[in-house]
Symmetry: C2
Subunit: 134 residues, 2 copies
């Protein structure tokens, strides 16, 4: 019996912990600078860890920012269906967990009857804080 084991490797743990501690999405090279004293010296080491972490759903990539954020949805382990809200002013990013939305999108059929297994949605607007300050 081959048991698939999801123990994170050393570099993966280091990168994940940095991302989890962060208040917002982190860029790859900013992660790199943050982990150099922990022995990670090259971009590729970061990118490889990021790739794996995305694959197993621990983090997501915010495409419009080329930045990486920890997943807050414990049930989002496959990371196929993602939705985020992004503040245009303060750049705050939040993962949207909304069952109706995810059901709607997972069941969406386009005009030709085609369905899709995977999606990424990014909403842009002003977060509550920034809205008040206006």
């Amino acid at each position: 019996m081959t048991q698939k084991q999801e123990q994170l490797s050393k570099n993966q743990q280091i990168v994940l912990s940095i991302i989890e501690k962060a208040k917002g999405p982190l860029k790859a090279y900013s992660i790199l600078y943050n982990v150099q004293r922990r022995g990670i010296k090259a971009p590729l080491q970061v990118y490889r860890a990021l790739e794996k972490l995305i694959e197993i759903g621990k983090i997501h990539k915010i495409k419009s920012k080329n930045a990486f954020i920890a997943c807050k949805n414990s049930d989002c382990e496959i990371s196929k269906a993602t939705a985020f809200s992004i503040c245009n002013n303060c750049e705050h990013v939040k993962e949207i967990k909304n069952t109706k939305l995810s059901k709607y999108l997972s069941n969406f059929e386009d005009n030709s009857g085609m369905k899709y297994k995977k999606y990424n949605l990014e909403f842009f607007g002003l977060c509550k804080n920034c809205k008040l300050k206006q």
Copy 2:
């Protein structure tokens, strides 16, 4: 009375015509190579044209591909609400024009009651062709 005029400049026209002729999304540097004989020599000239064309809604950027595609929705001039289907196999990209979907997303409220003015949605799956060939 100041009339806002949206005549495209020379470089903007060149870049747009290349993108409109293309069968799929084009990358910035591929556009550059395609227009060098027409006098556009530097990346920045391409990126500036792209920026303007996006702003006025003539093209969209496919974020997951860092590539640019012509807008097929004549009523999408502000380019705030975009949705695409992307084939994971042949990389075919199609802009989704679906009133229900766009209404649903434009009216979407997150769990905190927040609404968003702008969104970008990218669906991934297999296009009809690729589904048949499997």
